[in-house]
């Protein structure tokens, strides 16, 4: 890498929340500009989308024909590509359109009076479906600490460590009462990766999986436990097909229980 590494933050189809999580670093972000040059980060001001950079962070999923081209350009301009958030890493909530029963054309017609002007793909797909991705950071939104750690690691030329152990470990470390045990609340914690700080259990509700699957999710076992709590197959499927519906570990059992199949171009 060059002396002062250059970074970029690109937006694709998203809610901007992951970029905001970076902006929320506040003064730390300004300090960061002492060790890296922020070439492109439109939400924060700098705009040079075509610049060559050392690390490109990508927020958002691919949902339009134009985004298909843009992501190729990002790849060829960047030494490392890091996806940030559920949208970029698994297709995000908007990937609910990827199931066969969802007719995008009909949807577009029902929302827009002139659907011929809306250019949108049938699917919302993760960045890694289109280009080689060097590192994936999960979460909806990501935890901004992960960004700092990643930039530091890449600046020092070490591989960033990605923890993918289960949320339950983080939850127990914090001393939360388990909502599944104490309240019979279904919780995706056992099959979700840590990183958020076990936010949902700490306010007394079950995790809804916004950080995506952990290393080895035993989704079948959890689904069984959920049905023991009285959930119907379709209730369990909706839990799995939510923020990270396309993620391996959530997708398959969700398909099975919800009787869903993917469109061919989402596979």
């Amino acid at each position: 890498m060059s002396d002062k590494p250059k970074i970029a933050v690109h937006k694709f189809s998203s809610c901007d929340g992951c970029q905001l999580a970076i902006l929320n670093l506040g003064e730390k972000l300004i300090e960061l500009t002492e060790i890296v040059d922020i070439m492109h980060f439109a939400e924060a001001g700098p705009v040079n989308p075509h610049e060559k950079v050392d690390v490109a962070f990508v927020e958002g999923s691919i949902t339009t024909p134009h985004e298909l081209d843009r992501i190729q350009e990002v790849r060829s301009n960047s030494q490392y590509v890091v996806t940030i958030g559920a949208c970029a890493t698994s297709g995000g909530l908007q990937a609910l359109r990827n199931f066969k029963h969802v007719d995008i054309k009909q949807w577009t017609q029902s929302v827009y009076a002139k659907p011929e002007f809306i250019s949108t793909l049938e699917t919302s797909t993760a960045i890694a479906k289109h280009i080689k991705v060097d590192l994936e950071i999960w979460g909806c939104p990501i935890n901004s600490k992960q960004i700092i750690e990643t930039i530091r690691a890449l600046c020092f030329g070490v591989e960033p460590v990605v923890q993918k152990d289960s949320l339950c470990l983080e939850c127990k470390r914090q001393g939360n009462a388990c909502v599944m045990v104490t309240k019979q609340e279904p919780c995706l914690g056992p099959i979700t990766q840590s990183g958020c700080g076990a936010l949902c259990p700490s306010v007394g509700r079950g995790c809804y999986g916004c950080y995506g699957p952990d290393e080895n999710p035993n989704t079948k076992a959890l689904a069984k436990r959920f049905s023991g709590l009285g959930l119907l197959p379709n209730d369990i499927a909706r839990k799995l097909h939510f923020i990270n519906s396309q993620a391996k570990g959530y997708l398959e059992i969700g398909n099975e229980l919800g009787n869903k199949t993917l469109k061919d171009d989402a596979k």
């Binding site: 937006k11 189809s13 998203s14 809610c15 901007d16 929340g17 992951c18 970029q19 905001l20 999580a21 902006l23 929320n24 506040g26 003064e27 300004i30 500009t33 439109a42 939400e43 924060a44 001001g45 700098p46 705009v47 989308p49 949902t63 339009t64 134009h66 985004e67 843009r70 995000g92 909530l93 908007q94 609910l96 359109r97 995008i104 949807w107 577009t108 029902s110 929302v111 827009y112 009076a113 002139k114 002007f117 809306i118 949108t120 919302s124 909806c140 939104p141 958020c196 700080g197 936010l199 949902c200 700490s202 306010v203 007394g204 509700r205 809804y208 916004c210 909706r238 939510f242 923020i243």
Partner: protein, 431 residues
């Protein structure tokens, strides 16, 4: 004079997909199209077939800058369907929660987006070199908003604490008293900010447009109220929104344009101050008087001052609510799921946000409509640009025109994706 087409691929954050195109013929603007392009994400459709208790986590994802606004409009609609009136504690805490979002969003907008325009910088990072204290003050105010959001929801972006009926849990006494201390320390920052924004170089002008916001008998608009317009006068229950307001899809944009009886209108902080200044606490009214700016104002550049005023108000309001905080018996009120139609209308930082839901007897959503402030403001932004560019001078250097247009657009804070810096300027001169 030659005909000129100006195409400004604006909206850095949408990377050249958004654009402002202006065609000038014989020294007059012939057409002006602002396209605020966000790829459609079809949230209204994703809601169908989902259960009521999934809605808040879905609608939050429409916008990372104002997730709470989406949650609060949705919760109001669902509670109307379930005939649930949340207890007084819930009502107060929702207001404090919402104050957090106003602080976060306004703090970001004033400092990261608008102020650099007024002072001639390309970004807040550049501005920070010459105005370190002001930028730091802004970051502090933005951060305190984030902290209030986290107090209720664990995090500032897509907080997890709100539910139909109230909150999953109540913040502890200690957490609230710590928060109060921080708020106390920020009051001076917020007060100084009002004077600072009022001292920025302002363009003088006066446009004609309806200022619209919700209005409540006893409080400054935020959580609930009727839909109110100054001129033409209008005062409607939220259920009657679609009798006067119609969304139209214009070809050049994925945003839908919304008009009130055929007229473009303005939402947001300036409209709220214009309509409801008298509902602000006296000390704030005094501060406003000291700025020398006359409200109601139809100069949209005063929006930055209106935002600063609301930052101060949100801080003071959160302080008021937290000062007599006590733990509730229940952090969420009970209700019975039933079928019906419900409406929600609250004030997002950038203006009125209207929702409508239909729910079946098991609590599953059968249809929904969401009308965000950006699509409501868009027609007004276009008419504003028409007038502003005309006043600015169509013969001006095109770079100057581009900067001026950006500044005009930014007054409306049209969701952050549309408000950052324009990319390049393409000029095409017709033969």
């Amino acid at each position: 004079m030659t005909d000129i087409n100006i195409n400004v691929p604006i909206l850095a954050r949408v990377e050249g997909e958004g654009a402002l195109s202006i065609a000038i013929k014989n020294g007059e603007i012939e057409t002006l199209n602002l396209s605020i392009y966000e790829p459609p994400r079809f949230f209204e459709k994703f809601l169908e077939g989902r259960r009521y208790d999934e809605v808040l986590d879905i609608v939050a994802r429409i916008c990372g800058i104002c997730p709470v606004a989406y949650q609060m409009s949705a919760v109001q609609a669902l509670e109307q369907i379930f005939q649930c009136t949340p207890n007084a504690w819930v009502r107060d805490m929702r207001r404090a929660f919402y104050c957090g979002e106003w602080l976060e969003s306004h703090g970001l907008h004033v400092h990261m987006l608008a102020a650099p325009d007024f002072l001639g910088y390309g970004s807040a990072i550049e501005m920070a070199k010459d105005y370190p204290d002001e930028v730091k003050r802004g970051l502090r105010l933005h951060a305190i908003g984030n902290e209030i959001l986290s107090l209720f929801g664990g995090r500032a972006v897509h907080p997890v604490g709100a539910c139909v009926g109230g909150f999953y849990s109540a913040p502890s006494l200690k957490a609230v008293s710590d928060m109060l201390k921080k708020i106390e320390c920020s009051m001076q920052d917020a007060e100084d900010l009002i004077a600072w924004t009022a001292s920025l170089p302002m363009v003088e002008r006066n446009q004609n447009f309806p200022s619209i916001c919700i209005k409540h008998a006893r409080e400054y608009p935020m959580n609930e109220g009727n839909i109110f317009s100054d001129t033409p006068a209008l005062d409607l229950p939220k259920e009657h929104f679609d009798k006067h307001f119609k969304e139209e899809h214009v070809a050049h944009s994925t945003a839908l344009h919304c008009l009130m009886d055929g007229t473009p209108y303005m939402l947001g902080p300036l409209s709220r101050i214009n309509n409801c200044l008298y509902q602000l606490p006296e000390n704030i009214q005094k501060l406003i008087a000291q700025t020398g700016i006359q409200f109601p104002s139809k100069n949209t550049f005063h929006s930055i001052v209106a935002r600063a005023i609301e930052i101060y108000y949100a801080l003071q309001e959160a302080r008021r609510i937290f000062s007599d905080y006590s733990l509730p018996d229940e952090s969420r009120s009970e209700f019975e799921v039933q079928s019906g139609i419900g409406y929600g209308c609250t004030e997002a930082p950038r203006g009125m946000l209207w929702h409508r839901y239909e729910v079946d007897e098991k609590g599953f959503i059968t249809s929904s409509t969401i009308i965000p402030p950006t699509s409501q403001n868009q027609a007004r932004i276009e008419s504003d640009l028409m007038q502003s560019l005309h006043d600015f001078g169509l013969d001006k250097d095109q770079d100057a025109m581009r900067l001026h247009s950006e500044m005009v657009v930014r007054n409306y804070d049209p969701c952050i994706s549309c408000s950052t810096h324009f990319l390049t300027l393409n000029v095409e001169k017709k033969p």
